[in-house]
Symmetry: C2
Subunit: 148 residues, 2 copies
């Protein structure tokens, strides 16, 4: 497992989406807490729990190789001393498609991060299709609600 240290939850989130775009399995797993209680739910998928299931899930998704770009907008962020929760809107576009066909596939995700001895790591990723998700301006613009 990588020894990467993410000093803030947002750093872990940035690394998560970079790994997702690159189909980088080791980079992806370096974002997750080394904990059997991690939970990953892909859109329309069943809940995966623990390191092994979560890794296998990403390996299946990454098997097709890179090709999708994802743009995220952070709608809501709530941050405590030990736990941070981000509600993120993900817009995927498939590379190689003509622009007119590159309809973004909206996904809404709940990402939960834990402050561990090795910095902030992801413990929950819950994604689901977001039909008719209204495009709203982000009211917070990266300024999370800090509880501590």
């Amino acid at each position: 497992m990588s020894g990467k240290i993410f000093p803030a939850a947002q750093d872990a989130e940035n690394a998560f989406y970079e790994a997702l775009e690159r189909c980088d399995l080791d980079g992806m797993m370096a974002v997750w807490a080394e904990d059997e209680d991690i939970v990953c739910i892909h859109p329309t998928g069943a809940r995966l729990t623990g390191q092994d299931e979560v890794r296998r899930g990403w390996a299946r998704i990454f098997a097709g190789g890179p090709g999708a770009r994802v743009q995220t907008s952070l709608q809501v962020a709530i941050s405590g001393m030990m736990i941070a929760v981000h509600s993120v809107h993900e817009n995927f576009t498939i590379e190689g498609q003509p622009r007119s066909d590159a309809v973004p596939l909206p996904v809404v995700a709940t990402n939960v991060y834990l402050r561990t001895a090795a910095g902030w790591r992801m413990i929950v990723h819950h994604g689901s299709p977001a039909p008719g998700e209204p495009e709203k301006p982000s009211p917070r613009g990266g300024a999370p609600k800090i509880l501590h």
Copy 2:
């Protein structure tokens, strides 16, 4: 808004599912934080944010009246000083159906609670259909991981 105090995140969760079964809109909204940053995602639905959208979403769901029973199993619970995160498996059964037809409709939900001045309240409910969700024994049996 109700003045109910939930001394623990689990108390808020119990009240959430009781209100859901009873289609009790005021009881449901009493569980939520009085905060514009609350987020509610119903299975296959778009993200609803803020008191007004979340209330209208539940009002639409409750308009059909009670009829469903929901049994939950808590798979993972992580609890900090200010934030608690539960990953819950929801099994719905429709009342009035012969038992043989009463196939549970599995939903996996990520529920996030915040410790507010008025006790623990829900800030995020993210539910999605869980196809092929394996029935696993709950390894924690209601014993959350406590971080503080």
